[in-house]
């Protein structure tokens, strides 16, 4: 087991930011911590990174205790932070060089390793440019490369695509997947983007109010609520008859939209629409992790506006 947490808790005065978290993550997994902002994902990750001391409980990473052997834990992990943390007045290569020194990467092979990680994220050509001139996506890639530079066993990624446009985001996912495979590293990633957890993670822990409320592969999580959904806009829906159908597992109404979770929607859609009443709009789809979250907590994972993040970034000069 690469990561093991038991009863991990972080309390701020009366607020339990992380509440009795138990986790086991195997070597080579890409593990997602999915939840809304303020759910405690970053706090949990910071405890793994030994930046925060747990109030209660214990965790081991790569066999080392986060409370008793923080130095060894730090050597075993690479961390990529939510906000940019590279020095933008220095070049990409200089940032990597400083990281190599701080992590004691031996002199022989230092240069080769820097070239290697630059290549992994396709930044060789911009390596000698100041980070100031990089786009948001390039900066993230540089920080991914930096996180991997000292060959950590575990890579901790805190919202690695926060504030990036959707296209760049998918691009970064590709890099993360490739890196995890090629460098054989275990990855923990926090995110509040369902698609990100869905596309990237082998297993996902859904977190709300500091607690893990569900933990499984994205496919199984979605399967649990039913393997398909019908969403229909109906003026006066007759819900009772629908609820009685044996293959329907759940019916919700949201702003005049009826969402029905069921098995094999294709085979039953005629019958359902017949019973439901006149629909002006019908959509048939597979459940998403958002539906899972909605069912578990009764609320949606709201995507944070990218502007908030950008402001924070613009205000800093990157130093």
């Amino acid at each position: 087991m690469m990561i093991r947490a038991h009863g991990l808790t972080k309390t701020y005065r009366s607020l339990k930011a992380v509440d009795q978290v138990d986790l086991e993550i195997e070597e080579g997994e890409i593990f997602g911590l999915l939840g809304p902002n303020g759910a405690g994902k970053t706090t949990l990750l910071s405890m793994f990174a030994t930046l925060l001391r747990p109030t209660e409980g214990e965790a081991t990473l790569n066999g080392f205790s986060i409370t008793k052997q923080p130095g060894s834990v730090r050597k075993s992990i690479g961390m990529v932070f939510q906000a940019p943390s590279s020095d933008d007045i220095l070049t990409g290569r200089e940032n990597l060089y400083l990281h190599a020194l701080m992590y004691g990467v031996p002199k022989e092979g230092r240069r080769r390793r820097i070239d290697e990680v630059l290549e992994l994220v396709d930044l060789q050509e911009r390596a000698s440019d100041k980070v100031k001139t990089y786009s948001g996506g390039m900066r993230r890639r540089l920080e991914l490369a930096r996180g991997l530079l000292h060959k950590p066993k575990i890579l901790l990624l805190d919202e690695p695509t926060l504030g990036l446009d959707p296209q760049t985001r998918e691009h970064i996912w590709g890099y993360i997947e490739g890196l995890a495979k090629r460098e054989k590293v275990t990855v923990i990633i926090t995110t509040h983007y369902m698609e990100e957890a869905d596309a990237l993670c082998d297993r996902v822990a859904i977190i709300d109010h500091g607690r893990i409320i569900a933990l499984d592969s994205p496919a199984s999580l979605k399967m649990k609520i039913g393997n398909s959904m019908i969403i229909a806009k109906v003026k006066e829906p007759r819900l009772e008859s629908i609820r009685r159908l044996p293959y329907v597992s759940r019916v919700d109404v949201n702003d005049g939209n009826v969402s029905i979770v069921l098995s094999d929607a294709g085979a039953h859609i005629q019958e359902i629409l017949g019973l439901l009443g006149e629909a002006t709009h019908v959509e048939l789809r597979e459940p998403t992790l958002n539906d899972v979250f909605l069912q578990l907590t009764g609320k949606e994972i709201r995507a944070e506006s990218a502007e908030g993040w950008a402001e924070k970034f613009v205000m800093g000069d990157g130093r």
């Binding site: 943390s85 924070k312 000069d317």
Partner: protein, 248 residues
């Protein structure tokens, strides 16, 4: 060994950044030049102390001022580093807090030495002449002032979470330290109450020592000045190190 490499990395970063931020170097030299030319030249037209020209009399004080101001704010810059995430990359590295502190402090000392070197090179324009011994002593004091002031700045910055307190620090720490150090006037003829306060200020001894090395106008033996300054620096470094250990 790995701590030493880390220390080198932290120092290297500070120096590299210093050389890239040219505007910082320029302003750190222009400010003392204004003091020397406008204040020193203006007041020097009517007064002189101990037979020395007033501009050269305040020259050591102005070097002290440059080093004090830039070092203390260099240290307090840690507030900014903490706010944006750059410093997290350093905090999560497998390095002890003592190393982080020492790296920052040595970076601050190097910056201060470079700034002062520019001023010292311009010294002859203000009637200052050097001996090798004098330059050596001045370098020692610059390092002591920079180490002490950076430590103080880091210690303060480690406790603060925003820049709100900067004005207070400026008014209640930095300015009094500068004005009550004998940088601008001789200390022997001060009224007793002012003399008392001045004697409590470690920078008094730094200025006195530098003035002794340059103009032979010291109130205390130079070795005594070095001793007092070094003792204060040791205390401030210790305080700064502890503040860094406790910082989250």
């Amino acid at each position: 060994m790995s701590e030493l490499l880390g220390l080198y990395a932290l120092w290297y970063r500070e120096v590299k950044v210093f050389f890239r931020e040219r505007s910082r170097i320029v302003s750190s030299v222009v400010n003392p030049l204004i003091w020397l030319i406008a204040f020193g030249g203006g007041l020097g037209a009517s007064i002189s102390f101990g037979g020395a020209d007033y501009q050269s009399f305040i020259f050591p004080g102005v070097i002290m001022m440059t080093t004090l101001f830039s070092s203390i704010f260099f240290g307090m810059y840690i507030v900014w580093d903490k706010k944006i995430d750059f410093f997290k990359e350093v905090l999560v590295a497998p390095l002890s807090r003592t190393t982080l502190f020492a790296g920052k402090m040595l970076g601050g000392c190097t910056d201060a030495l470079i700034q002062s070197a520019i001023l010292i090179a311009l010294g002859p324009l203000f009637g200052v002449s050097y001996t090798l011994f004098g330059l050596g002593i001045i370098a020692v004091f610059i390092v002591l002032i920079a180490a002490g002031a950076t430590s103080l700045g880091l210690a303060i910055g480690a406790q603060m979470s925003s820049f709100e307190g900067f004005g207070l620090i400026q008014s209640f720490v930095v300015m009094p330290l500068f004005f009550l150090s004998g940088a601008l006037y001789p200390i022997d003829s001060l009224p007793l109450w002012l003399k008392g306060i001045t004697y409590l200020n470690p920078l008094t001894y730094a200025v006195d020592g530098m003035r002794g090395a340059l103009l032979n106008l010291n109130a205390f033996p130079i070795i005594f000045d070095v001793g007092v300054a070094a003792a204060f620096v040791a205390v401030l470094v210790a305080i700064g190190t502890i503040a860094f250990q406790r910082m989250n």
